[in-house]
């Protein structure tokens, strides 16, 4: 390889490397600033809602002895639905009580309308 080609390759590497460096520094810099700003938000929000006399220390959550078995999921129930149900239960949990989902199956009895179809019909017909 001639020295000109080597020089060109070196310049190419240097330019690309500099772009990567600038890009990474700027992206991390901007998001670091945002992290700091919203961390401050959190500090202020916690300080504002702090009530020293009235609050009791929250009971420590019981250690998890062993993972619960995965719930039985009927065929045709999408993973998204399982994830949403699980997340909703977790969000409602106060940390002290543990819930177990044993089974997830579509609420559809013989002759009845699927629940989403019923919701859709209700949504469309309510104004009338």
């Amino acid at each position: 390889m001639s020295s000109t080609l080597l020089l060109q390759a070196g310049n190419l590497l240097a330019d690309a490397g500099m772009t990567v460096l600038i890009g990474v520094v700027v992206v991390f810099g901007v998001l670091l600033v945002l992290t700091f700003v919203f961390w401050l938000f959190g500090v202020v929000a916690r300080a504002g809602s702090h009530k020293p006399a009235a609050t009791k220390p929250a009971p420590a959550p019981k250690p998890i002895k062993q993972p619960a078995p995965a719930p039985a999921v009927d065929d045709g129930v999408p993973e998204e639905v399982v994830a949403v149900i699980a997340a909703a239960i977790a969000a409602m949990s106060d940390g002290a009580t543990r819930y177990a989902v044993r089974r997830i199956s579509p609420a559809r009895s013989q002759g009845a309308r699927p629940v989403w179809a019923a919701a859709g019909i209700a949504d469309n017909t309510q104004p009338f």
């Binding site: 060109q8 390759a9 190419l12 590497l13 330019d15 690309a16 490397g17 772009t19 990567v20 600038i22 890009g23 990474v24 700027v26 992206v27 991390f28 810099g29 901007v30 998001l31 670091l32 600033v33 945002l34 992290t35 700091f36 700003v37 919203f38 961390w39 938000f41 959190g42 929000a45 916690r46 998890i64 993972p67 619960a68 078995p69 995965a70 719930p71 993973e79 998204e80 994830a83 699980a86 997340a87 977790a90 969000a91 949990s93 940390g95 543990r98």
Partner: protein, 473 residues
């Protein structure tokens, strides 16, 4: 003309004849139609990002049917007046058919000899003669004389998609999509755990690593011959696939390398659809069973005030630091402010439903229509698809590795799997983190923890696009 001649003529003028004319490149169109059909199959049967893949594939199909002309640009041209029209123009009796473009040329000592007398409506009038043509002479306010050359402004109408494509070309559709995304996104998980911003930043490492890799192709001795020596603009457009954010990829590519738009859009949306297949092996390879089993503590509740202030602060910080990211970040945050303010419910509903759907249709079909045979069937396209996959994988790895670092420094309180959600792909990447985490510990719920890095990734990829736009725009 007999019946057979008529049939032969109709056949020769049909798209079928062009399609089957292999010497003239008809085979390329056939291949593109095949690719469009495969994408339609993936969208309809496999449900891979159907909302965008379906219109993209159909746009691709339509533009590759010869003679359809849906993507033909509008042709503007100036047609000189005929001799009779010039005479009529001088005498003021011409009939305007199209808009007239007027060009004036000054008359000085060098061309004054071309002024002749002409009988115009019975009056001897000075006119300028050039060859067989006569032009009207006018005087300006200073008394300088000019001769006037009128021309008809003629234009041929372009194809439907060409007009719709202007919304991509001028960078209008992607920010409008971001408006809708902002209306649909809850940044609460990010606010309750601001460290997630850093995971969103780490997942953008794939973009810059791929930019570096794509730039190096220019060093290969045969790169020029194969057309794979990427310019900085092309390398940046390819690299942004790693952000796993379709509108951002389209926005940046339409600004930097519009000729690659079709290939990059197809690669970006295909990989976003394949997140559940691409990410889990990388996540498992980079983490231990113990790390994947970490149960994270519940997120704090975020007040409405914080949620309202969030879009205002993010817009101010990002736009002041990186002005080129203003259209994407600004619209994303405007949409979020609509949502969180709670006072413009009608606008919020429109932006996240009707407007979003309309723009999705326009964006999809026009981006698909840029994938014509001549621009798509090149070695570059294959390379773009490979580099896109690398960008995606490295972005995932970047997020997980920073997650591991957080796991280490937090004393095992952070599950590194949530880092993988730092690539945008909302909410698919967060669902993948939830799924992989639950495979190790069925009682673990990582979804809301992963949503933090996931939405931070949207901001991160817009910031990364802003950096690339500033450097190469």
């Amino acid at each position: 003309m007999n019946l057979w001649d008529a049939i032969a003529q109709i056949w020769e003028e049909s798209g079928f004849a062009r399609l089957l004319n292999f010497e003239n490149g008809g085979w390329k169109n056939l291949i593109m139609i095949g690719i469009a059909c495969v994408l339609l199959f993936l969208a309809i049967k496999k449900k891979y990002e159907p909302l965008l893949l379906l219109p993209i594939a159909f746009g691709m199909l339509l533009v590759n049917l010869p003679l359809g002309g849906v993507m033909d640009p509008q042709q503007n041209s100036l047609v000189p007046f005929t001799h009779e029209e010039q005479i009529a123009y001088i005498s003021g009796t011409y009939e305007q058919v199209y808009p007239v473009s007027i060009t004036e040329f000054e008359i000085d000592d060098s061309n004054e000899k071309n002024i002749v007398k002409m009988d115009v409506n019975g009056v001897e009038t000075d006119v300028y003669k050039s060859g067989d043509d006569y032009y009207k002479i006018v005087e300006d306010a200073k008394g300088n004389r000019h001769f006037v050359v009128p021309q008809w402004q003629h234009f041929e109408q372009g194809g439907l998609f060409w007009y719709l494509y202007q919304g991509v070309k001028f960078g209008i559709y992607p920010p409008l999509i971001f408006l809708g995304i902002g209306c649909m996104t809850d940044f609460g998980p990010l606010l309750s755990n601001p460290k997630s911003f850093l995971l969103g930043a780490a997942a953008q490492l794939g973009i810059f690593a791929t930019f570096f890799g794509a730039s190096l192709f220019g060093m290969l001795p045969f790169a020029e011959d194969l057309g794979i020596a990427f310019t900085n603009q092309e390398a940046a457009s390819i690299a942004i696939i790693g952000g796993a954010d379709g509108p951002t990829a389209i926005y940046l590519t339409s600004k930097l390398a519009p000729h690659l738009l079709g290939a990059i859009a197809v690669a970006a949306y295909s990989y976003m659809a394949l997140v559940p297949i691409i990410q889990p092996p990388i996540m498992r390879a980079l983490t231990t069973k113990k790390e994947r089993s970490v149960v994270m503590t519940q997120l704090r509740t975020v007040s409405k005030t914080e949620k309202i202030l969030f879009p205002i602060f993010v817009t101010a910080v990002c736009v002041l630091l990186l002005p080129s990211a203003a259209p994407l970040i600004g619209m994303l945050m405007l949409g979020n402010l609509f949502r969180e303010s709670g006072v413009v419910e009608r606008i919020t509903k429109t932006a996240q439903n009707e407007l979003m759907n309309i723009i999705t249709i326009l964006l999809g079909v026009t981006v698909g229509a840029t994938a014509n045979a001549n621009t798509f069937l090149q070695p570059k396209t294959l390379l773009i698809i490979c580099l896109g996959l690398i960008a995606f994988a490295m972005g995932t790895a970047g997020g997980v590795l920073l997650g591991k670092l957080m796991y280490f420094f937090s004393g095992g309180k952070v599950n590194p799997l949530i880092g993988s959600a730092g690539v945008s792909a909302v909410p698919m990447a967060a669902r993948v983190a939830q799924k992989v985490g639950q495979q190790e510990n069925p009682s673990n719920f990582l979804l809301m923890h992963a949503m933090g890095p996931n939405v931070a990734g949207v901001i991160g990829s817009a910031v990364a696009a802003g950096v690339l736009l500033t450097l190469f725009g």
